[in-house]
Structures are given as C-alpha cells and as structure tokens.
Amino acid sequence: MEGSVSYESHDEQLNFKATELRLGLPGSGIEESAASPPPSTKKRASPEQDSADNEECRSSTTDDETPDLTSRPSKTQVVGWPPIRSYRKNAMQAYVKVSVDGAPYLRKIDIKVYKSYPELLKALEEMFKLTIGSYSEREGYNGSEFAPTYQDKDGDWMLVGDVPWSMFSSSCKRLRIMKGSEARGLACL
C-alpha cells in the first residue's frame, strides 16, 4: 500500500492511536494524503478513484501525461479502463457504511471488491488501525476487543463470518465494528 506505515505491534500502537486527538476522519493517515487529486468534474470521477477507500491507493494517470509507451506501465488504474459503462460499474458496486464504536465518523467501502472474509477484515484493520483477530465458529473473534458485525437485508445484526462469503456480500447492508464489553459478549454466545 502506498505510503503505509507498518506498525510493529498493533496492540501497542492501537491504544496510542485510539486516544490521539486529531482532526481527521477515522482511519486517515499518511496514505490518504498520497491519494490522487480530486477529479475536476463530478462526472469524471472514475469509480476507481471512488474506491480510494480500498487498501490500495491508486493514482490515476491523467490523459495529459505523455504515456510512456515503450515500457510496460506498472499496475495503476487508468481512466475508462476496462471499458465498462459507469452505469454497470455502479450497479456492481455495493458500498456499505462502516462504523467503529468510539469513532466520530463512518466510512464507506465497496464490499464487492473483496473476495473473501480475510481480505475484507484485513482491509478494515488497515483502514481503522485496529486488530480484529481471527474467527472461529464457536468463539467468534477471539483475542481482540473488536468484533465485526453486519446488518443484513432483514435488518438483523449478525456476526461477520458465519455464512458463506457470497451470501454475506449480497446481503450485507451495513458494517459495525463493535468494541469492548459488548464485543466480548458475543464470544460467549
């Protein structure tokens, strides 16, 4: 990830970060400032830029730059490629709100970008600078004070990880990362 800061120990950094007074959205750090400049017109905001919420920060090459066509470009997102109409791209996206207990702002991520629970959880961990730990069917998320939950189509709050990924990604409407005693309570269920 571009400009990411690697923490030696999540837990140590965690408490520090959690109590730090900052002006900024939860999860904002060094990597956010390396994001590409905002698009000049609304319609030109490519979905690739919208998904800067992803773990990977992508800079969009503008068409003004003379393309270096002799060498093969590295993997950066390019406007209008692959050629999918924005209508279809938007239809395939599933942005859900993500809240973390104790954080003042919510974030939004596109869960269709992820293919599995580990990918999603890793992205959440990086976005919010916390540890979620590993899932077990019996005990939920052990070893951390955070537990990821989601609200499904029927409005019920469920623990992330119980159902197959594809079922989860099509029914998840909202994510909430619970913290503290409430989260620990889930492990007892």
């Binding site: 017109t41 503008t62 003379t66 490629w81 999918i84 395939m92």
Partner: protein, 615 residues
C-alpha cells in the same frame, strides 16, 4: 433502427398527396406530342410517370442503404425517394443540420439520432460535450406533425425537450432513449400524461434524474396502448401501487422491465396481472428492506409457469440465488437471458442453463467462471450472442474466466455470431479455435483487462489470435482488440478485414505503421476508436483518402500533435476536426488529448464547450 416498415398507414397518406393522375386533360405537365403526323394528342411529361411509378415502388424500399442508392440515380429519383422516406436515420447528429434534414425529407414518421462517440461512455471526455436533442426536436415539431417514433442514442435530452415532444406530436407512439442523459422523472411525467397513443417507452442504460415526480401516476386513467415499458435503468423509487394499476389497464403490454426498487414480492403481483408478457425484467429479484418473510412464501414457480409467452428475461439486480429455481418453467422457451447483474456462481447457473435449449442471446457475469461457460456450451446450441461482463473491473493477474471458457464456447456454440468477453488472461490458441469453430462471427470483442498482456501460455503477443479472427471469420464487421499487440496484428486486420466497419483499439501497436495498415487496408471502415496507442501525425495523414467515407475517427492519448490535426483539417474542408482536452483544468501538453473527427455538411457546430477546439 432502419426505416419504419409500417407501410399501410403511410400508403393511404401518400395517396392523398399523390401527384395528379395520368389524365392528360388535367395534367399540368403535359406537352404536345411532337411526332411528325401533326396530331394534337397530349401525353404526360414522361418524368411525371416515372415519379409516380417510383413513389409507388420506393415505398417498399426500407433499407436505408438501398434508399441512399436510389436517391443518387437522378434528380427525379432523388425527389421521389425524399418524399417516400418515412424513417430517418442520423448516425451522427452533427453530420447534418435539423433544418437540412427536415427540408429534404418531409414525410418522416420515425427518427433515429445518435450523438456522442462511444468512448464518452467510459469517462474519456468531459461532460457537456454536446449532442443536444433541442435543435432536433424544435425543427421536427414544425416539420413532422405526424411523427410517431423517436430513437435517441447518446444524446443530451432535457425535460423541456421531452415536454416539447409530448406537446408537438399528437400521434406519438414510441420513445426509445438509449444511453441518454439530461432529463429526469419530470420529463417522463409529461410524456406519460400527454402522449395518449404511447405504445413504447423504453429507457435503456440512461441516466434519469430523480425529481421526486411520480411519473407512473401520469399515464392516462383509461385503458392504455402500452406495449412496452422499460425502465430498469431508472434509479428512482416508483409508486408500486400506481404501477400495478397501470399494468392492469394495459392489456397490450408485452414488454415490462422493472427497476431494482421493485421487490420479488411486488414482481409476483405484476406477473399475476400480466401473464401475456413476452419480455420481463425482474427488478431486484430479492426481498427488499421491509418485505422480508412474506415475500419468501409466495409461489413464484406458478407465476412464471403462467407466463407461457415469455421469451426474454432480465433483471436479477440483487438476486437471491435461492429463488432462481422459480424461473425453471420458462427456461425452455427463453431466447434471451440477461444475468449480467446477477452475481451467481457456476453451481447456481448450471441448473438453470441446462434447461435453456433455445437460448440465442445470453449475457452473464464472470462470476459463473469457466465452469459455468462450459455448461452454456453444453446446452445452448442455438446461441448467437454471448456477453461476459466482469464483476470486478480491475486489472488482476487472475480472473474467474479465461481461455478455457472461450474455447468451450467455441466448441459448443457453433452458430455464434457476436461475442463480448472480458477476461484477465487469454491465449492465441483459444482465439484461433474460435475463429475456426465459429465461422459466422460478425462481432468479435475481446477485452483482456490487463493492458499489454501477452498470451498466457506462450508469452507471445496476441497478434496471431486476432489475425486468425480476421482471416477465418469472413463475415466479420465489428472488432475490438486487446492484450499485447504489435503492428503485425494491424497488418493482418488491414489485409483480411475487408468487411470491418467498426474497430476499437486500446493500448496496442508499436508505431505509425499499425494505423497505416488499417487506414490503407480496410475499405469499409466507418467507425474507428483508438486510445493510448503510439500512432502519430504521419499515420493520421495516411487516412486522408478515406475520412469522408467514415462516420468518425476517435483518437485519444496517442501521439498526435495539434499541427498534424490541423493538416488534416486543411486538407479536408468537409471534415470537422475537434481537438479536446480530457481534463478541463489541465494544461495542454505536446500531444493532443483527444481527436474526434467526422464528416459534416454543416461545418463547425455552434454549441462547442470550452474544452473543445475545432481546427
């Protein structure tokens, strides 16, 4: 859209306006017989006879290429053809002015107009480039009071334009808006309420603004003439009760495509009301918030079984895969199935597709994987058109579909005519196999999403694969290339692609020679769109002999200079050469961002935005 073939009404109209009959005494074009015997017999002017005959005969000519040819024979034929053309097709709204078109063709009932270039769909051009419907609707309001049908593609249409349309044409019957924008539910409301003869309202992949207007309520309270109501692209909530009542009072309704705000329970109610449907877009195909348990218990299988005429199924926008078996009763009759918004696995697809023996058109997401495509190949022997879209439109090394799926399709679906295939990796072998197994291919569009990606197995370029396509598919008229391609690929296309009319190129080629091969080799080339390829001014000049035969040329992020484009503009006065910045704020660099050139009878248009320069 071609000419409107509905000849019966037009024949009776034309009878009234026919030129005077061949009665010598009444004909004012008669002249004296000039034979030597000195008789006073007056014969009608021979061209008059010809015109009458022509008008009667030309009514049967519907293909616009035929009509264009007929109009070139002589002035008489030109006039007769102009009087009898009822369907007007404008392939580029800036190639001819509304005034000129309406002056020449005075008895038009159906109009098709296309606007923006296709690459605008992918955000390659700033918005507000043009293609406004306003000047057209204003001219037609005066010229064509009997207008019945309007088809627009990639045009900017405002609510006021729709209001003018609704008010100006009392017999208006069909409105089709494809990839259009600029209007909202207010515009739809006016059309619904004022076009009392409306048969068709089709909104396809258009952006519709939510003005909070309940347009469904605006249809007439009496029985309607509606045969087709397509609004799956409309992202606004609709008044479902009003929709249900509308369906109940539309006995002729055959095509209904719902948007994703219609739940599966609501779908059930509509299907029960309209078992005569032939085309159904199922909306979300899911329980939406607020309709949980009740929806799950309805008998969907019976609802589908009752629709005995259903041949075309789409929608499935938020699909609950568990509900998919409900469609089994109709699968055997389906000719057209669109799963391209349904994120389903191979396992979920297979039980459905193995019933679909008659399927001719199939759109699907790559979530079904190569395995799903194999199942399609095994069952769908009548398949003519396949489109495989990506769930994740990114450049990745691995993807769920590959050369394996393409090979399977080529082996199973021998009648394939059109394919659009998005993948992360491909091999020449699979493409060559398709070129041999599917000789009827007319459209071949392969999008290897990783730019410059070579043959996955051999590491070579994809030249040979695309070469085989143009060599073996003798009917090919549309081609889109991708992957690692050298100038050799273009040499093949120039050499063998003699029928190619539409070509799409991205991140391909080594030098000017690539483009030269195309422009010098493909005599039928009409629409050429190129992006991010190393073609420069010299290549551009090599097409001077051909640009008047083309509808347009688009080149973005290539190696064209302003001077090079200027040379072309100077050499060809009837060409409009537009040069654009892709980003309004950025400074212009050494190369032109976007070149878009097209033939036109009108010269420079008068509605250019700031970011466009016409040379």
């Amino acid at each position: 859209m071609g000419d409107d073939p509905s000849s019966s009404s037009q024949m009776s109209e034309d009878d009234d306006d026919r030129s005077p009959p061949l009665d010598p005494s009444s004909s004012n074009k008669a002249r004296n017989c000039s034979s030597g015997s000195g008789c006073d017999y007056i014969i009608p002017y021979p061209d008059q006879v010809l015109e009458n005959v022509l008008e009667n005969v030309l009514c049967f000519l519907t293909a616009r290429q035929d009509r264009n040819a007929a109009s070139l024979v002589c002035k008489s034929w030109y006039r007769a053809e102009a009087l009898t053309r009822s369907g007007l097709f404008i392939g580029n709204c800036y190639a001819v002015s509304p005034r000129r078109a309406t002056a020449r063709f005075t008895r038009v009932r159906a109009v098709s107009i296309k606007g923006k270039p296709r690459f605008a769909d992918f955000n390659l051009m700033p918005p507000n480039w043009g293609a406004h419907f306003r000047p057209w609707v204003s001219a037609m309001a005066k010229a064509y009071p009997w207008l019945e049908k309007v088809y627009l593609k990639r045009m900017s249409v405002t609510d006021d334009d729709l209001a003018l349309l609704a008010e100006s044409f009392p017999g208006f019957k069909e409105l089709l808006l494809v990839c259009c924008d600029g209007f909202g539910t207010s515009g739809l409301a006016v059309v619904a309420s004022k076009c009392r003869q409306l048969k068709v309202l089709d909104l396809i992949e258009s952006e519709v603004l939510d003005d909070d207007v309940d347009w469904i309520c605006c249809f007439p309270e009496s029985l309607t003439c509606l045969e087709s109501l397509i609004f799956d692209c409309v992202e606004c909530h609709i008044n479902f009760e009003a929709l249900e009542r509308l369906v109940m009072r539309s006995p002729l309704l055959k095509k209904l495509r719902l948007n994703r705000h219609v739940s599966i329970g609501q779908l059930h109610r509509l299907m029960v009301r309209a078992p005569q449907l032939t085309h159904l877009g199922t909306g979300s195909f899911s329980t939406l918030e607020g309709n949980p348990q009740g929806d799950q218990e309805l008998d969907y299988v019976s609802a589908f079984a009752a629709c005995k005429s259903l041949v075309c199924l789409s929608g499935f926008r938020e699909i609950l895969p568990d509900q998919l078996p409900a469609i089994y009763p109709v699968c055997a009759n389906l000719t057209n199935l669109n799963f391209s918004y349904a994120n389903i696995t191979a396992e979920q697809l297979i039980p459905v597709i193995r019933h679909c023996h008659k399927l001719q058109i199939f759109w699907v997401l790559d979530s079904v994987c190569d395995e799903g495509l194999k199942a399609v190949a095994a069952t769908c022997k009548e398949l003519r058109e396949l489109r495989v879209f990506p769930v994740n439109a990114r450049e990745d090394t691995e993807g769920p579909v590959s050369e394996v799926g393409l090979q399977a399709i080529s082996e199973g679906c021998r009648k394939l005519q059109s394919i659009l295939y998005f993948c992360q990796r491909m091999t020449n072998a699979a493409v060559i196999a398709m070129s041999k197994n599917c000789p009827d291919l007319v459209v071949f569009r392969l999008c290897i999403m990783g730019r410059h990606r070579p043959d996955h197995a051999t590491g070579e370029s994809m030249d040979e694969g695309f070469g085989a396509i143009v060599m073996n598919c003798k009917k090919l008229t549309r081609l889109a290339v991708s992957g690692l391609l050298t100038d050799q690929a273009f040499s093949y296309i120039g050499q063998f692609g003699k029928l190619v009319r539409t070509l799409s190129v991205a991140f391909a080629g080594d030098s000017d020679m690539g483009l030269k091969y195309l422009l010098e080799g493909c005599p039928k080339l009409q629409k050429l769109e190129i992006r991010d390829s190393p073609f420069g001014d010299s290549a551009l000049r090599s097409g001077l002999h051909h640009y008047y035969n083309m509808r347009f040329l688009w080149m973005s992020s290539c190696l064209l200079t302003r001077e090079g484009c200027q040379d072309v503009a100077q050499a060809l006065p009837r060409l409009v050469v537009e040069v654009m910045k892709s980003d309004e704020e950025e400074e212009t660099g050494e190369y032109v961002d976007i070149l878009y050139l097209y033939r036109s009878l009108e010269g420079q248009r008068d509605d250019i935005p700031k970011f466009v320069d016409i040379l």
